[in-house]
């Protein structure tokens, strides 16, 4: 296996990018990520992106966004209709195969032009669940009800997770929802929006984008003072049909964490892409995170959830803690699908 590291990250996130196209959003982000390590597109061996045409409401919208990369003369490039964390995985595989030493990974989501709670129905099966057009918050509330009534979690614990995000996000300029003085009582006093879920249980929807540069071996050491070496990366998937799953669990997250070696040593920090407090609770258990791991110091996805980019943003946030010397071993997590159906775990270390 080649040693591959995240050497540069850049991201932007706002509540709604009303007067900015996806291309206009990504030009400065991509240039910042490449520029920070002195690279131009000519120096990039492989480029991979993640986004969804269902957010843009336009077929092949990702091809437009390639304008932000600079793809002339033609580049080696790929796209996944998934969170950018999976584009990072594809790039990591490409680097493992060899022949190239650098990769540019980016993803973005602008869900503000449509109704994300409806758009998410298109990820359901088209025969049984899809035609019912169940609101995404209502679906998450079904899971929350099962968890609360089975004793898998308590109202108090969910509120604590919400407060952790609100407080952590107070120092994060990219967060779209934060509160330095939020407390469990104030969260529990909120009126539910999809009973039993309260507003602070549901991620604050955001528009944004993120770009990451990967490099292998000595190239990474040249480009970055303290590369975030990817020591393990793995992604797993649970069944699509929620009726066959135990919705209080996410076995695929557990499996991915084991395969990525998350528990092999102490983790200083973990960044989780959970769009609901209930799911953040499940993830902490499935990933085996202990009290010595700082979870979602940035506020996590709850503080700002850019669909299709939230996972790569978590990996970027975790990697930055290595770059800046705040942590030695971190975990970045990405999720996709209904009820944490699919999970990716990326474990990174500094030298």
């Amino acid at each position: 296996m080649r040693d591959i590291a995240v050497v540069s990250v850049a991201q932007q996130q706002q509540k709604a990018l009303t007067h900015t196209t996806e291309v206009e959003l990504m030009v400065p982000i991509i240039n910042e990520a490449r520029g920070a390590v002195g690279l131009t597109q000519d120096d990039i061996g492989f480029t991979c992106s993640g986004s969804s045409d269902f957010l843009a409401g336009q077929a092949f919208s990702f091809v437009h966004t390639l304008d932000a990369v600079g793809a002339v003369p033609p580049i080696s490039e790929s796209h996944v209709e998934m969170d950018g964390a999976w584009a990072l995985y594809e790039s990591w595989v490409k680097l493992q195969i060899g022949g190239i030493d650098t990769a540019l990974v980016y993803s973005y989501g602008k869900s503000s032009p449509g109704s994300l709670r409806d758009v998410l129905c298109t990820q359901l099966d088209p025969y049984y669940l899809g035609p019912l057009w169940p609101d995404a918050f209502a679906m998450a509330a079904l899971q929350a009800r099962i968890m609360l009534e089975s004793g898998a979690v308590s109202d108090q614990r969910l509120a604590e997770i919400a407060v952790r995000s609100l407080n952590g996000a107070a120092d994060n300029p990219l967060a779209v929802r934060s509160s330095a003085d939020a407390a469990v009582d104030s969260v529990l006093a909120e009126e539910p929006i999809a009973d039993p879920l309260r507003p602070s249980d549901c991620a604050a929807s955001a528009d944004g984008g993120v770009a990451v540069v990967l490099a292998a071996g000595d190239r990474a050491r040249e480009l970055c003072e303290r590369p975030a070496w990817i020591r393990g990366i793995d992604h797993r998937i649970d069944p699509h049909q929620p009726g066959v799953r135990d919705l209080t669990r996410a076995p695929s997250a557990h499996k991915a964490a084991v395969e990525a070696g998350a528990g092999n040593d102490r983790l200083d920090a973990a960044e989780l892409a959970a769009p609901f407090t209930t799911q953040e609770h499940i993830l902490e258990a499935e990933l085996g995170l202990g009290s010595d791991t700082a979870v979602n110091a940035s506020g996590g996805a709850l503080a700002g959830h850019t669909m299709m980019a939230a996972g790569l943003m978590r990996i970027a946030d975790a990697a930055r803690q290595i770059h800046e010397g705040q942590a030695d071993r971190v975990l970045g997590h990405a999720a996709s699908g209904l009820f944490l159906q699919q999970n990716l775990v990326c474990v990174m270390e500094g030298e």
């Binding site: 196209t21 206009e24 390639l66 304008d67 600079g70 793809a71 002339v72 032009p113 298109t122």
Partner: protein
């Protein structure tokens, strides 16, 4: 394979065999699951500048900071280099036909469009890429690559913030642009001319 929606697909035309306990239940032979999602599109920064200028009968492009190439409509980026293009350039409403197509089939919902009609890549004077427009005011058989054209605008009191302000492009007379320097060839022809001038300059 038939594409006629009234013909039952082969997979559904045979007998449906149900388990005994469902014997009295009406068999499901097909389901319809319509999808409708609504989006509110707002043009981005570059497109907003472009569309707003149309209300004043102006056509705006943007200039590449890398090599000065002018793009219309502007998209806020030079897609060859991924470089932001913050500078607008006002372009004239004259240019030439870079390429064209004569269409003899009607477009559903466009009853105002008489067939045959000519859609063309219009390369404005001063722009380095073409954009789409209708060519009229000339017999379709006479339209040709390199033919010079000018915009025919709606009356001033009907102008909006839309590219629909230009009804069509009509011949403006004057000598054609040679095909080797028309349309997408124009940029390459310009590059060759510039490099020859540079070589001549270095030779002095």
């Amino acid at each position: 394979m038939s594409t006629d929606p009234s013909v039952t697909p082969a997979a559904l035309s045979g007998e449906v065999h149900l388990p005994e306990k469902l014997a009295d239940v009406e068999p499901v032979r097909s389901v319809r699951t319509p999808i409708r999602l609504e989006y509110d599109f707002i043009p981005g920064a570059a497109s907003s500048g472009y569309l707003n200028a149309f209300a004043d009968r102006k056509i705006l492009g943007q200039r590449s900071p890398v090599d000065g190439a002018v793009f219309v409509p502007p998209r806020g980026v030079d897609p060859r280099h991924g470089a932001a293009t913050p500078d607008y350039v006002e372009l004239p409403d004259t240019g030439h036909v870079g390429g064209f197509c004569v269409t003899r089939l009607p477009i559903p919902g466009r009853d105002d469009l008489e067939i045959p009609y000519v859609s063309a890549w219009i390369h404005l004077d001063g722009a380095d890429i073409g954009f789409l427009g209708l060519v009229a005011g000339i017999d379709t058989s006479e339209v040709r690559m390199g033919m010079r054209v000018r915009a025919v605008w709606k009356p001033d009191d009907q102008l909006g913030r839309t590219a629909e302000n230009i009804l069509y492009w009509e011949p403006s007379g004057g000598p054609d642009i040679p095909v080797t320097a028309a349309g997408t060839n124009a940029w390459h022809a310009k590059q060759i001319t510039e490099s020859e001038e540079q070589a001549a300059g270095e030779g002095r």
